[in-house]
């Protein structure tokens, strides 16, 4: 009898503890809460290339240009207009008047000169150095006009400037060691629509409206960037109304779909998700093997079943978002197991005693690396492993913790054989960093001298038709070489609370530059 009583009591306790609050958390008006995945370092020169820092920097700092909602064309931010000269080797930018830094001092062309000169300064570990490659000189014509001179024509400059390069205050940072701005980073001063208020490590970063913003006073009072490293916490907080805006995976759409107060937006990004093959290591140095692996992978099924058709199937390196630069004549490699096996046999592989293919005494055995914690990518990796097993490969799957994954995967030379990969880029067709020999993002060691030549030429060509023709040919060459296996073009799925108004039709990185137009009801 007493035992029964004890059980009942325990049961009641468990039930009470599990009662989920059904009422939505009361949302404070004028405050927007966004999820970010980690802490930030707000040094405008050496900022790490990771999403949380990028996101907060976008509301605190300004760039010369930014992307327009809808067609991603660059429009002025701190610049009002820009004119190329000498075939795009020289650019003259006219700047906005009356812009003030968050500490009240006026913004002038001298700040632009200070920022750009230090980005290409070899003593500064600037993140965006390759974006300004070839910058020879920056001249201040007057307080509101600046002239940039490059070694070679640079027609893409306005697009690249909108990507991420914040303008830093000369009056605060001149003479300081720009590699170590820990004081400034804890209290950054920019020209953006929001002023930095406070950062509580591991918890949140708060920014408050800048009423003197040149684009008009923001409609919001504050933005709180909540640091939530686990996607499940993000999903839970979206449900309860503690979070207004977050990027989620397609599988969360189903879980969150029942919530009446949420709405979803899918934005196509100009980047591809692919299985990177290390072209410098056996067995992927041979094109036949890479092509076989591509044919052996049912990418259409992956897009349908794992990505739930929320992302388009990829043909090659360039996404449809590149508009006229996208080569529409290329078709995705078909899924054909027989062709794959035939290619492997052509490459000299024969079936070994245990079913795994062998060539010159070496088994077709390698490692597939994926980053741990993302259910979609882990599912993709498992499917890829199984698909290649059917071709006769012995694939070992390793789910690495994020920092190890980045270290092994992005190093030059890279430390992997095959891995899941993606690269977010500006909507500019120049892919020097990704597909030329020695490019900083070319961790898969792809090397085709003809592509190198054409990529350099296209980067400097100002005639649009000529550029389109060049980039189409480049795509064809890369497609035939198949250095990596493109699976899908990436889409960003944004979950927003219906109380958020005025959010632009842009990926979150670009949308954050328009936060002065967003409001909450």
């Amino acid at each position: 009898m007493r035992r029964l009583l004890v059980f009942l009591l325990a049961g009641a306790m468990v039930a009470a503890l599990n009662a989920t609050p059904t009422a939505l958390a009361q949302a404070p008006s004028g405050v927007l809460r966004i999820a970010i995945i980690g802490d930030v370092t707000l040094n405008p020169f050496t900022m790490p290339q990771q999403l949380p820092t990028t996101m907060v920097a976008k509301v605190v700092f300004s760039t010369l240009t930014r992307y327009r909602s809808g067609d991603l064309q660059p429009v002025g931010d701190l610049a009002t207009s820009w004119v190329p000269a000498d075939d795009g080797r020289v650019w003259v930018f006219k700047l906005k008047r009356g812009v003030r830094w968050h500490d009240g001092k006026p913004f002038t062309a001298a700040d632009v000169k200070f920022t750009y000169e230090n980005i290409v300064n070899p003593r500064v570990r600037a993140l965006f150095r390759s974006a300004l490659r070839g910058l020879r000189q920056v001249d201040v014509i007057d307080d509101y006009t600046v002239r940039l001179e490059f070694a070679d024509p640079y027609p893409s400059l306005p697009i690249v400037l909108a990507w991420n390069i914040p303008i830093a205050p000369k009056h605060l940072l001149e003479g300081k060691d720009l590699n170590d701005l820990s004081d400034f980073a804890q209290n950054p001063v920019g020209t953006g629509p929001f002023r930095f208020k406070e950062a509580v490590k591991g918890a949140h970063i708060t920014v408050e409206a800048n009423p003197d913003y040149y684009g008009g006073a923001p409609k919001l009072k504050t933005i709180v960037f909540k640091i939530l490293p686990e996607i499940n916490t993000v999903v839970a907080q979206l449900r309860t109304g503690e979070l207004d805006l977050a990027v989620v995976e397609s599988l969360h759409k189903q879980a969150l779909g029942v919530a009446q107060h949420l709405t979803f937006k899918t934005i196509e990004l100009p980047s591809a998700f692919y299985i990177a093959l290390n072209n410098a290591r056996w067995p992927f140095s041979e094109r036949l093997v890479r092509q076989a692996m591509m044919h052996g992978l049912n990418r259409e099924l992956m897009v349908q079943r794992i990505l739930k058709n929320d992302a388009p199937l990829a043909t090659g390196a360039y996404a449809k978002s590149f508009g006229p630069f996208f080569n529409p004549t290329l078709k995705p490699y078909p899924f054909d197991v027989n062709r794959a096996k035939q290619l492997l046999s052509e490459a000299g592989f024969r079936a070994g005693p245990d079913g795994v293919l062998v060539k010159d005494g070496k088994r077709l055995a390698f490692e597939l690396m994926v980053d741990r914690g993302n259910p979609v990518r882990e599912q993709i990796a498992l499917f890829v492993q199984q698909s290649w097993k059917q071709l006769g490969a012995d694939v070992k799957l390793t789910a690495e913790e994020w920092s190890v994954y980045i270290r092994r995967g992005n190093a030059l030379p890279a430390d992997y054989e095959a891995r899941t990969a993606w690269r977010i880029t500006p909507p500019d067709p120049d892919k020097t960093a990704e597909y030329t020999t020695g490019g900083v993002n070319n961790h898969y060691a792809y090397s085709n001298p003809e592509v190198d030549r054409m990529m350099a030429a296209a980067r400097q060509t100002i005639d649009k038709q000529k550029r389109i023709a060049l980039y189409h040919k480049i795509q064809e060459l890369i497609y035939q070489d198949v250095p990596v296996l493109w699976v899908n073009y990436q889409t960003e799925i944004l979950a927003t609370n219906k109380r958020v108004r005025g959010y632009p039709d842009l990926g979150i990185r670009d949308a954050l530059q328009w936060m002065h137009l967003v409001s909450t009801e």
């Binding site: 999903v235 189903q254 349908q304 599912q379 199984q386 913790e401």
Partner: protein, 298 residues
Amino acid sequence: MTAQRAVLAPTLPLVRPAGRGGGYLWRRFRRNRLALVALAYLLLIHVVAVAAPYLAPHPPEAIDLLNQFAPRSRDHPLGTDESGRDIVSRLIFGARTSLAVGLSAMVVAMTVGSALGAISGFYGGAVGAVVMRLTDGALTIPTFFLALLVLAVFGSNITNVVLVIGLTGWMVVARVVRAEVLRTLPQEFVLASRAIGAGDRRILCRHVIPQALPSMIVAATLGVAYAVLTESALSYLGLGVQPPTPTWGNMLTGAQHYVWTKPVLAVYPGVVIMLTVLSYNALGDVLRDTLDPRHAGS
């Protein structure tokens, strides 16, 4: 004689007592219904684990993207998971890995713990004190976090997991064995053996260990419960056995993302873990009651 035995030898001696038939212990055990259920379940799950390749209807790692989240059917008695893999087969093969890791880790813990406990109790003095302080020190370390740290640094393959769980669970065993040794050594039959010239090894093997065995069995049973639970937790966090090898813990890792839409995916491995750990704990408790009547009812 009987009175003396009650004072000096509170644990029933393993020598068959005069007048009581064999199976006396079993009959006592049998009286506890909970114990029988627990034992039956454990036998079942171990047989299933050993016969996994013959019992599982499908390969546990076979992905079938056209058949995700399938409902229960003849072909898939418990349905399929997020990658179309058969849940029953994964539970069966998961039993194999989880129990193998649990039992192996227990063996490691028992070996290390018994050795250290016996040394400490047998030799006493400075050696004994040092070993005991070492054990106490080890007990203050938060073992789960230590396990996470070690696996993150040295990699998480099955060997490392077994070693880590074993080397964080030996302390209780050491204390138990030491207590038994200290209780046994001063007894008359040991003194008598010494008097006729028995050496250390003979005393240990022939007298001390058999006396300590009941407590060690109880510790071992509880140790397996701890090991299975810890392995599940480590695998759930991604630091235990790596996919695609299924264990009950890493089945939960996949299921957590679907907890709002398909909660059964988490319920199946969760229930199995709970039943297994509960059964081992129940078994351990009942064994303790059976083998040492002083503890009965506590």
